[in-house]
């Protein structure tokens, strides 16, 4: 199986436990190169735990994680990052004491080699490298339209901007696989549109494979190629968005009981909510 043909990331029968609590129960899924995969599920389903185990922050009780065909189950988080996997966090883990610029520059740490002596003298190669990385980071800042706040300490930003800075920091690492944990949480419609646009741009322009945890169904329907649904630590559905939204197991998981008979799926109870992105506007164009 050559690297190019197989999935980028394969999670194979992974279980994660915290004492007696089983957070993930024999979950298997694939993330294919170049796709946008959405991970959905009610709260407590284990979605963040899944990302954490891929990041190397937790290690599974059983099962394997294969990246580009090779077993990567027991790597430490910094080695996982070195593979080209970057992520954002559910509760925004920015470095509050540093400016936005420094936060994003930190994202680039794996690309910065250099010797200690040169760093101390800030001379020659160290200085040149710092400038080069700064230039790259500025391009990302332009891309995400956060120029105005680049010198603001990250702790002082409103939530929506913090999320965007976190995305910038993840992008600074030039990742092959980008894991986003609820990147649009707490955002209004316009902010969500912007974020969707950024996510799709990153996928289209840089070819980055993206897996995102998301609760907003309209976003999921719009931008994802495939959807995986989790519930109580188990995978309950896996397939194209249209199929998953009609999947009975998924509906039950979210709604608990039988839905009404007006065509079923997630259109039912949600049709009375303010018409969001999905209903009011056509799906965002993919280039």
């Amino acid at each position: 199986m050559s690297q190019a043909s197989g999935p980028l990331l394969a999670v194979d029968g992974v279980s994660v436990r915290f004492g007696a609590l089983v957070a993930l129960n024999r979950v298997s899924l694939e993330i294919r190169r170049g796709e946008v995969l959405a991970i959905i599920g009610p709260n407590g389903a284990g979605k963040t735990t899944l990302l954490n185990v891929v990041s190397g922050f937790y290690h599974p009780y059983e099962g394997r994680i294969l990246y580009e065909g090779k077993d990567r189950t027991w790597l430490r988080p910094y080695d996982v990052a070195a593979l080209g996997i970057a992520r954002t966090f559910q509760n925004v883990a920015l470095f509050k004491g540093m400016t936005v610029l420094d936060n994003v520059m930190t994202g680039r740490v794996l690309k910065m080699g250099g010797s200690f002596l040169q760093d101390v003298l800030y001379w020659g190669p160290a200085k040149r490298q710092e400038i080069e990385h700064r230039a790259f980071v500025e391009r990302i800042i332009d891309f995400l339209e956060i120029q105005a706040i680049r010198k603001t300490p990250a702790g002082r930003l409103p939530y929506g901007l913090q999320k965007r800075v976190e995305l910038a920091r993840a992008l600074a690492a030039e990742p092959t696989l980008l894991l986003l944990d609820e990147p649009m949480a707490g955002m209004n419609v316009e902010e969500k549109e912007d974020m969707c646009r950024f996510v799709l741009d990153v996928n289209a322009e840089f070819g980055t494979t993206i897996a995102l945890i998301e609760h907003d169904m309209s976003v999921v329907m719009d931008i994802s190629d495939r959807v995986v649904a989790l519930d109580y630590g188990r995978k309950i559905a896996d397939g194209p968005p249209a199929a998953v939204r009609k999947d009975q197991a998924v509906i039950d998981a979210y709604l608990g009981v039988a839905h009404d008979s007006t065509g079923g799926g997630l259109d039912g109870p949600l049709r009375n909510l303010p018409q969001g992105v999905a209903a009011a506007k056509p799906p965002l164009e993919r280039r």
């Binding site: 990052a81 004491g97 420094d102 930190t106 740490v109 200690f116 760093d119 800030y122």
Partner: protein, 358 residues
């Protein structure tokens, strides 16, 4: 209005990332350093040099060291006194064993020894965090002091464990020992602290400083981004101990002349920690401000009652000193946890507009 940045546009990233991006800052600091190097030795009295300026420079260096570890890398350390002792005793042993080696080199070597010891005591920091780490550093502090007390080899079998700085010269000028002039010692301390302050600033504005601050702010996220925690923390311990080691050597060689282990006990660790907290955690300038502040208060207390015509015993003085230090720590933590450095920054911001209200 006086402190105007208007019209200063940065056209290159290099300019933006300079140590002093605002031109006025640069001129003021350069002028201050030149004045310190040239004017002060000519003008200052022996008392001022000996009792105030030299210890100020030495404590500033130690404060920078602790600030790198605790302020930037977020690793709370109560072992500063111990690491300074390592530097002092290492310098003593090296220079008494190899008298021909230049004292400047001796200080650097002593720093390296202190760095190595710091690395060893920093290893637990991977598993241990926060207060627990502070207690682990206490182990370093008490153990090291006991070691220098017990093992007579360290003080070359001197009767009371005292180490005395032997006379040494640099470029023909006597800088240590009883014949060294206060001016010479002052210049040496000044040279070291300016050099190391610049190096420290280079470190913290680059990738190493960012890694430290990342570990300080969110160590888990930092690890997931790719920063290796053990390496980063050990580097902080090593460099910080280097600075403290050199400061410790300076303390004996350039200030006290001779000292016992008592000079490096837990009280010194707290003193330097106070300097760093009051001056500002995570600020090189703050290290200087904090050291200056801590030096000024006892002098003020010693002289103010005189000037006010009130008699105060030394014991009472010491007690009020403790109360003022303690009270000020609490005050700063409430009002401005980022210390004098932040207050200074705010003042500069106000100066940009002064005399206009907004």
């Amino acid at each position: 209005m006086i402190y105007r940045e208007a019209g200063q546009f940065k056209t290159t990233y290099a300019a933006d990332q300079a140590i002093f991006p605002v031109v006025q800052d640069r001129w003021v600091v350069v002028a201050a350093v030149v004045a310190a190097a040239v004017a002060v030795p000519l003008v200052a009295t022996e008392y001022w040099l000996q009792a105030v300026l030299i210890p100020l420079l030495i404590y500033s260096l130690a404060a920078i060291g602790l600030n790198l570890l605790t302020g930037y890398a977020g690793q709370l350390s109560l072992g500063t006194g111990g690491f300074m002792a390592v530097g002092a005793y290492a310098a003593f042993k090296i220079t008494t064993a190899f008298p021909a080696v230049n004292i400047l080199v001796v200080f650097l070597l002593a720093g390296i020894v202190a760095a190595a010891v710091g690395l060893v005591f920093g290893i637990p920091s991977l598993r241990i965090k926060g207060f627990y780490l502070a207690v682990a550093t206490l182990a370093a502090q008490f153990f090291l002091i006991w070691l220098f007390n017990r093992v007579a080899w360290f003080s070359n079998y001197a009767p009371s464990g005292t180490i005395t700085a032997p006379p040494r010269t640099v470029f023909g000028v006597m800088v240590t020992g009883p014949d060294a002039s206060a001016g010479a010692r002052y210049l040496m301390a000044l040279g070291f602290v300016v050099l190391f302050a610049v190096l420290a600033k280079n470190l913290v504005r680059g990738r190493i400083g960012r890694s430290w601050m990342a570990i300080r702010d969110r160590d888990i996220a930092a690890e997931i981004i790719g920063i290796r925690p053990l390496r980063t923390k050990l580097l902080a311990f090593g460099i910080s101990s280097f600075y403290c080691g050199v400061a410790g050597a300076e303390l004996v060689f350039l200030y006290y002349g001779s000292a016992e282990t008592f000079a490096f006990d837990i009280a010194l660790s707290f003193l330097v920690l106070f300097m760093v907290i009051i001056g500002g955690l995570g600020s090189i300038l703050g290290s200087f401000l904090g050291a200056a502040f801590i030096m000024v208060v006892p002098i003020f207390l010693a002289n103010a009652p005189h000037m006010l015509g009130v008699a105060m015993s030394t014991a009472l003085q010491k007690q009020i000193e403790l109360m003022i230090f303690g009270g000020l720590i609490i005050f700063f933590l409430i009002v401005e946890p980022h210390g004098l450095a932040r207050l200074w920054q705010i003042t500069k911001e106000k100066l940009r507009l002064w005399p206009f209200p907004h």
